[in-house]
């Protein structure tokens, strides 16, 4: 956890934008622009005034190094910040400075030169109630500004900004010897050509205590230096230390100019109207690293950056109170899709997902993660790896296998033929291919259940060794990545690459001339070869690919977050489904079923390759997602089919199903709440065997049973041939205790 905090030091989120770093004043351009975008000219003016001292002058004379730094110029034209500053000055209702009632400091500063730099220093020091004496060798203040602006422009501004401050001005008073001055500190602001009294070097503290140098080739530089040096002088007066002013900020910010939408300025001549200023401010990108916030669904949903997430997760795992109050990020931790997008898009490679997975583990180990968030999926893992579904067999008894096909649990759950047809094909190109059905352990990984993950992985390792260390063939990227991480000794291939390499020719039908958008699964970012193979096969099947995505994103399934955070899950699915209007072509069973469940037409690549689910041209795209109960039934059926078709064994269905009728509406309700038919059957069996049930006047039976930690309720009627289920629901609380 501490490692992540350390890693976050590399985060670019807080890096200043290029323009602010180029600005002599270090103006917070993002803040200024935000205020202008809202049309808050008063607020924009106040920020500008606080930063530059003499806003009406700076808005006119600044030499605009920000324009050279503006990334917009790579695309069209730099943001017209000068005009925006002028608009802030022009449209501010109240331009008066703030009046500060502070006690006099009792220290005196002599400022030599009443040009813009000297006056800027005087402005800050007098506002802090230091005694200031300005010495000017000519008969007027303003220095170089006389050559740049009309006197009424800058003289009025000096008068306005200094209206509440008192200072002594000595015109026609040339200082030739600093020793003649009686002051606690001296600021030399005599301009580029002025007397430096023997001091050389840049603006800052001189080698002599109490004497400070101004500087700046441009008037804006001189003003900025004057304002900055006022702080340096004050620090000296308070501490006696001759410190140098802070160096100008630099930035590590990285921005992709290519991604900037083309938007040249609407108006370039003359001053901007209010509306034009708001419009021009809208051109500013407010450069800030937001790669993760832009692409990561979780960060976008919660509006939280990695830094903020780290803070909230930290107090959640280590709450400051004994009763654990303040565990603000429990659901956030459990909502990460673990799709690797945050890491893939971060210019610094910061892996917030890995941090959240580690946090999930910590919460799990503490017993602080609510059990329902992952309970269903952990039970599903147990089912997939149980006797009903799991099958590990070499192609021929006793033979060493060169390959083994690991389809993953969800593929057969979606449609058993995805597995049987793929296996049939693999045997045709590599007869020594074993079948290895079951779950890779992803639910345990995502739940943070280390012990279960370890035992699952160890079981796989033992079975792999028994098969003779064959090469794995995967149909699921998530399974492959789990193997890569926890079973790195197992060499692997993706099914689709094997098919492409062997020149597999899918059947081409007229219906398959459709345009499809390929939806690459998350965690496939680093596999362009897989992406290529999938596209080759898709086109061979007669489909045209369009609407390519910028990068692989999660369909919503990752991390199995749908129970922990249903609204977030729904939002992610909606966003992903809306990426393209075309039907999706997926090669992940979860993506396929998630989209189909959301009403988004989606094919699995295997639908195309083996001509499955294609009764009519578009029907496959609308094949509804199997319910949780059907997914289990499909996995049972898969094992039975594999044994029958490939090993000539007849395996009776091991389960003893209850004859149960239910309406489609009730079935839909069960699916929505992830209540399995076998759970319903268990409750009814319990009620019937024990008599623990209540009846209403109509004879409807009500009963409940706690299975694991979840309590299930059913309302049912016994019928001549079994039972009719009228309702079922569940709750997480358990009955009993005081």
């Amino acid at each position: 956890m501490r490692d992540f905090k350390e890693t976050l030091k590399n985060c670019l989120r807080e890096e200043p934008p290029f323009c602010s770093c180029a600005c002599p004043f270090g103006l917070d351009v993002r803040d200024l622009i935000s205020r202008l975008q809202r049309g808050s000219f008063n607020s924009a003016y106040r920020l500008f005034q606080n930063t530059v001292g003499f806003p009406a002058i700076v808005a006119q004379v600044c030499h605009r190094p920000c324009a050279a730094a503006c990334i917009r110029k790579e695309k069209d034209e730099a943001v017209l910040l000068g005009k925006l500053e002028q608009a802030a000055v022009a449209y501010a209702a109240n331009r008066r400075p703030n009046q500060y009632q502070l006690p006099a400091k009792g220290k005196k500063i002599a400022i030599i030169g009443a040009g813009p730099g000297g006056l800027a220093c005087a402005l800050r020091l007098t506002a802090r109630k230091y005694e200031v004496v300005l010495y000017e060798k000519t008969n007027r203040i303003g220095g170089c500004l006389w050559d740049l602006l009309l006197p009424e422009q800058f003289l009025a501004e000096f008068e306005l900004q200094l209206m509440y401050e008192r200072y002594e001005l000595k015109l026609n008073c040339e200082i030739n010897d600093l020793a003649t001055l009686t002051a606690d500190a001296i600021y030399i602001a005599t301009g580029p050509e002025g007397n430096r009294f023997g001091f050389c070097g840049a603006a800052g503290a001189s080698r002599q205590d109490g004497i400070f140098l101004g500087g700046g080739e441009q008037p804006a530089d001189a003003i900025a230096t004057g304002l900055r040096m006022a702080g340096v002088i004050e620090a000296y007066l308070k501490t006696g230390l001759m410190r140098q002013p802070e160096t100008r900020k630099t930035t590590r910010l990285v921005m992709d100019a290519a991604a900037i939408p083309f938007a040249p300025p609407a108006v370039t001549d003359g001053p901007l109207t209010r509306d034009q200023a708001v419009q021009e401010a809208g051109r500013c990108l407010k450069c800030q690293c937001d790669a993760c916030l832009k692409h990561c669904d979780l960060m976008r949903y919660y509006g939280k950056s990695p830094g903020r997430i780290e803070e909230e997760v930290e107090v959640t795992i280590h709450p400051g109170t004994l009763d654990g109050n303040g565990t603000v990020a429990t659901r956030l931790i459990a909502s990460c899709n673990h799709c690797d997008v945050c890491k893939n898009v971060c210019p610094q490679g910061i892996d917030t997902g890995a941090f959240l997975l580690q946090s999930q583990r910590s919460m799990q180990e503490k017993g602080a993660m609510p059990w329902p968030f992952h309970d269903f999926w952990l039970r599903d893992l147990e089912f997939s790896n149980g006797a009903d579904c799991a099958l590990v067999r070499p192609a021929a008894p006793g033979e060493r296998s060169s390959y083994f096909f690991f389809p993953g649990c969800r593929l057969g759950g979606s449609d058993p033929r995805y597995v049987t047809e793929s296996y049939r094909y693999l045997l045709s190109v590599e007869p020594e291919t074993a079948i290895f059905t079951g779950c890779c352990g992803a639910p345990a990984l995502w739940a943070g259940d280390q012990a279960l993950l370890q035992s699952t992985i160890e079981q796989i390792r033992r079975q792999w060794l028994d098969l003779g260390r064959p090469i794995a063939v995967f149909a699921c990227v998530s399974c492959r990545n789990i193997f890569r991480q926890f079973l790195p000794e197992i060499e692997s291939r993706m099914l689709y690459q094997v098919m492409e390499q062997h020149g597999f020719q899918p059947p081409v039908t007229a219906a398959e001339t459709a345009r499809l958008a390929v939806f690459d699964p998350c965690q496939s970012e680093d596999d362009p070869e897989l992406h290529r193979a999938v596209r080759v096969l898709t086109e061979k099947a007669g489909c045209r690919i369009a609407d390519e995505a910028e990068l692989p994103l999660c369909c919503g399934w990752g991390g199995q977050v749908s129970i922990a955070n249903p609204p977030y899950f729904a939002q992610v699915v909606r966003d992903r489904a809306a990426r393209s209007e075309l039907p999706y072509l997926t090669y992940c069973a979860n993506c396929r079923d998630v989209f189909a469940g959301a009403g988004k037409p989606a094919y699995h690549l295997l639908d195309l390759l083996f001509a499955l689910n294609r009764h009519t041209g578009r029907e496959a795209a609308y094949r509804r997602a199997p319910t949780a109960s059907e997914s289990r039934q499909n996995r049972r059926l898969l094992k039975k089919t594999l044994l029958h078709e490939f090993f000539k064994e007849e395996a009776p269905m091991s389960e003893n199903r209850l004859p149960l009728r239910l309406s489609p509406q009730t079935a839909e309700k069960l699916q929505r709440d992830l209540i399995l038919l076998e759970d319903v059957e268990a409750v009814i069996r319990h009620c019937e065997a024990s008599g623990e049930k209540a009846l209403d006047e109509s004879g409807l039976c009500f009963g409940h049973l706690q299975i694991g930690q979840m309590t299930f309720w059913v309302a049912y009627r016994p019928t001549a041939d079994g039972f009719c289920l009228e309702n079922a629901y569940c709750h997480r609380m358990s009955l009993g205790g005081e």
Binding site: C701, Y729, S734, G736, G737
Partner: protein, 66 residues
């Protein structure tokens, strides 16, 4: 009063009507109680769907986010 809470329920084993009675629940280390229909003889309980989906679900969520 909702339909299900108004529903007259008979305990199948004891043949007596369920009566509202203070019943305790537990979740995530917290304990609380409410009145739900209960068999006065054997203690069989009934939790109506609107209670499970309503107040109970709200409390569950609150405790998960606590």
């Amino acid at each position: 009063m909702s339909e299900s809470t108004a529903r007259k329920l008979i305990c199948y084993r004891c043949k007596v009507e369920l009566q509202p009675e203070k019943t305790y629940f537990q979740y995530l280390g917290h304990s609380f109680f409410t009145d739900i229909p209960k068999c006065p003889v054997c203690g069989l309980v009934y939790i109506p769907e609107e209670l499970a989906r309503g107040r109970m679900a709200e409390v569950e969520q609150e405790l998960e986010d606590k």
